[in-house]
Symmetry: C2
Subunit: 598 residues, 2 copies
């Protein structure tokens, strides 16, 4: 029999409080006022209300139901964390998914339906979708949307403050483009869109445009802020303005004076460009006080694509970052293998800490780019395994260990996964290991015409697994920022239809995997740079250059599953890794790596 | 210097007449009242106005401009046929395409903008797109849409009548499902969609549902008609009702009484389902006289998907059709090779006629499924080459000859392309031939999880060409109807994002190609059936069975460009073809085929 714990009671009480507001439905979205993928603790309201700690999830509370919407990555975790809270799991990214707008559109019988949310944490786009669904279902006047900014504060007494950490101005020589050049480019884009001004809300776009970085969010070097760019001025709205260094070509202003600035600069702004997918609804309403709808141009921010195509300096930085990072990972793998084979009892957590400590020695290290995944045996079958500090598994001298990690450096961001045979492996482990590797190599070697999008080449990575009746459920590749988010758009390599073509200069991960619940998990991840691979009468062709510099263990490769081209790539890759790193490693590590790379 | 010909004058005069109507813009769409891909001569209004004979094209005439919008397949042809008419080519399916609605939205300065069209030849969906674009550009009240059914009749004195040919009722045993079963199924779907009735407009859907075929349109065995299905009745609105045989479970009525029927049956209909992508705007307005917008449910017709998934009887028929068709094509290829090598002067046109005559001998033959493409040498570099009756090229005993053709049989529809080495071939011809074949084989051998869409496996066919910096611009695969259109949806295998998953029972072409202007063209096309290829803990996997039964010439295959798996497939395919066909061929042809299949 299940006995309700105190914790369950806690969440049940919190849901009851939310219900007591008296709305037909209350939405608690798991993001911040900037639509960040990884919000600061201040905006972990989904965790506060439900105990669910996954990186994506939204809650809806009605008078007769409480539900959490989250995707395939978190089903197991959500089921565990929601048990006993009375909150039900609604699955997304499944074929029969019913998203929140559709669910709300089908749930109520009495009109008008009153739906409340914190407009600071809902994008304009999300509210539009909600409104479209409700209007269709209940008719104009059949529903009401209520924006209640920060409404949880009443009960969430220890809610963390909005962070305002140290701001770093990057050396403009090292990033290849000055703030002035970037602002001039943006002003040109604004003109093309028929706008006199643009209001930027996405934190990575602002950080890129201003060549600044912060520490406001774990793993993501952003400064929580907004940016208003007109043809004459750029005003950066930050918290604690007195502590933020002055940056040339930009006026710093306090977050709190945003409304005054909009009023004062109304004429200077002309038509205003906004991106509804990241601007929050509450701030949009503020803007609408001074701008009629016809004076606003809605569109995808041009910064997203421009930021994804790296310039020469950024690529120089990336190359350096992947070499420095490779040294740290090789030292880690050497330490792990010799320790475990020497009989040491290393836990997943200890391994993770060791890896972080090795990265921390690198010049220009600014932290990890995401939470290390250090997973042994069956734990690696959870693609988003979160290594527990206490009681994590001991890594034994057999089977597979998976480590997915990355660093933030002043000169680039890294992301690498290695699956490491710790000793004897089963036939199935060896086959899975080889087939995933085959997929990674086939995507690495892919050549495709200009204009091809990621989902049109994703099959190269999946084909070898499919042929063996195996498959994996996550994406194959995501864009990677330059000392910015380890996930960035607009490109991706996955099954989803994303029309963005791969462009020369884009830096993307290449990470097929395979997961057998209760048994093992395999993922191989290199980061690749899209580059030109030749022209012909049929046009320009593109392909990939691998940036990641860390050997791939060949000891359990099932040779006959790779063809000659794939074997050649693997041989040549390991050879290059050894050549690049040997002089930077201690002699015993270099000797070890030489053997590994043979 | 260009001298205007009489023909050019003709089209210039016709454009002037259209202009004289006094509208800001007149649209002439290249389709019929059923949104057919291939309309009957009655609806070749684009050809009447411009001389352009491509299978896809729309015209816009303003007071200062006349333009033809068509896609990549027809650029060369359009440039040739429009020369001297004053009509400009607007390219579609290119990255910077500007479609008609957007073009009209950007063209005018004076409001209101009055746009006229023949509402019989514009789908509701097309008019909606037009209206959305005009509303955004010119505001509500800033534009006016004028529906002028059959407005060309005033000048087009010899316009062909609406055809009404013989109707064939298919043997319900041979198609696997009775009309009654199909109607019952549709009534269930209507209920699920919350509708009491459905108005069907697409000719292939009606033919499939009623198990009838006609000859109203070249190559497409349809009966020009509409169908109204309620929970009690099914009323088939046809031309010349007295000549149409009575079919059980359906009431025949004249096309002309459509409006009366809608009025009389208003209550019986309840909510009405329509597919805006095929219903024409004029008929929609008729419907709207009796149905408020809220009493109409808009959606994709459920018949499209159901029709695409073939039942066992239909597949039996298809298998038979591909064998019968294979015999005809093998006889053709034997005749062609021996004739040309024997010194006969065979033209492309004569070859095409010969092939048709061989198909015509097959029991159940009802015509070709599209116009034969019979193209030698550089002519084959035009993917949609139309073989001229007079002055077509002589097929020489060297280089490549391409033949793309198909038949309509009472028991199925075929479509096959073979590229045939007629003698000595260049290195490039051999390589291109082999790489295209490699792509076709790789797609044939593809295995993929349930839920995978065509664009997610298209790369398997293109990869070998891409790797050699070569590519082709058309789709790789289209659905094929059962004694219906040789092109049908909803599935496709191409770069375009089409979310429809491949499903077991779908019959689709597999036809990569390569075209070198002025030199040669290669296309290999087999038709494949999607089927289950095994289950595992990762789900159900699908793959393809090849239905086409006709050998592939291996004499110019560059062996080292194929891997072992591909060579095995080719060997085994030719072996099966020979085994299946040998007893149906004359001894000398069987002997010849045996050699070809070695």
């Amino acid at each position: 029999m299940y006995i309700m714990s105190q914790t369950d009671n806690l969440y049940a009480e919190r849901i009851a409080k939310i219900r007591s507001l008296g709305y037909d439905a209350v939405i608690i979205a798991g993001t911040d006022p900037h639509s960040s993928e990884y919000p600061a603790p201040r905006w972990k309201q989904v965790e506060w209300a439900s105990g669910f700690t996954g990186e994506a999830g939204d809650i809806v509370v009605t008078q007769d139901h409480a539900g959490l919407w989250t995707d395939t990555r978190y089903f197991i975790q959500a089921n565990r964390q929601l048990a006993g809270t009375g909150i039900e799991l609604h699955k997304t990214r499944v074929p029969d998914e019913v998203l929140i707008p559709q669910w709300l559109a089908g749930h109520f019988r009495r009109k008008p339906v009153r739906v409340a949310f914190d407009g600071l944490c809902q994008s304009v786009g999300a509210v539009r979708e909600l409104e479209d669904a409700l209007r269709q279902a209940y008719g104009l006047g059949g529903y009401e949307l209520v924006d209640r900014p920060d409404f949880l504060n009443e009960w969430w007494k220890d809610r963390p403050a909005i962070p305002h950490s140290q701001v770093t101005c990057l050396d403009e020589k090292s990033v290849g483009e000055t703030r002035r050049e970037k602002l001039d480019w943006l002003r040109g884009e604004m003109k093309k869109a028929g706008c006199g001004s643009m209001f930027l809300t996405s934190l990575d776009e602002i950080a890129w445009l201003l060549n600044v970085r912060g520490e406001d969010i774990d793993y993501n070097p952003y400064v929580i802020s907004f940016l208003l760019v007109t043809q004459e001025t750029a005003i950066w709205f930050v918290r604690n303005v007195s502590e933020v260094p002055a940056v040339r070509d930009v006026v710093n202003a306090d977050y709190a004076v945003l409304e005054d600035a909009l009023e004062d600069r109304r004429d200077e702004c002309g038509r205003l460009f906004i991106d509804p997918s990241t601007l929050n609804y509450h701030t949009y309403k503020l803007i609408r006080k001074y701008f009629a709808e016809s004076e606003i141009v809605f569109g995808a921010s041009p910064v997203i694509l421009r930021k994804a195509v790296k310039n020469k300096k950024e690529l120089d930085g990336f190359r350096r970052a992947f070499i420095e990072d490779g040294v740290a990972v090789e030292n880690f793998l050497y330490w792990l293998e010799t320790s475990v084979q020497g009989g040491a009892q290393i836990t997943e957590w200890e391994a993770s800490e060791k890896l972080t400590s090795l990265r921390a020695q690198i010049e220009g290290y600014r932290g990890n780019s995401f939470e290390n995944i250090s997973a042994y045996g069956a734990n690696a079958a959870l693609p988003h395994y979160s290594t527990p500090r206490e009681g994590s598994a001991v890594i034994r001298p057999r089977g597979l260990y998976l480590v997915d990690s990355g660093g933030q450096y002043l000169y680039g961001t890294t992301d690498i996964t290695r699956t490491v045979p710790m000793g004897r492996c089963s036939r199935q482990e060896k086959e899975d290991y080889t087939l995933v590797l085959k997929g990674m190599i086939d995507l690495t070697l892919a050549v495709f015409p200009e204009g091809t999008a990621g989902c049109q080449i994703d099959a190269f990575a999946r084909g070898p697994l499919w042929a063996a009746r195996r498959s994996f459920g996550h994406g194959t590749g995501h864009g990677i920022g330059f000392y910015l988010g380890v996930h960035e758009g607009p490109q991706s390599i996955r099954q989803n239809f994303n029309p963005q073509p791969m462009l020369p200069g884009m830096v993307t991960s290449n990470e097929p995997g395979l997961y057998r619940e209760g048994k093992h998990g395999v993922r191989h991840e290199n980061v690749v740079l899209c580059r030109e691979e030749g022209k012909s009468e049929f046009g320009t062709f593109l392909g990939f250059e691998t940036l990641t510099c860390c050997h791939i263990d060949t000891s359990i490769v099932v040779r006959k599953l790779l063809d000659e081209r794939e074997r050649n790539w693997l041989r040549s890759y390991n050879r290059v890794v050894y050549r690049m790193l040997k002089s930077r490693l201690a002699p015993e590590v270099a000797r070890w790596l030489k053997k590994k790379c043979r």
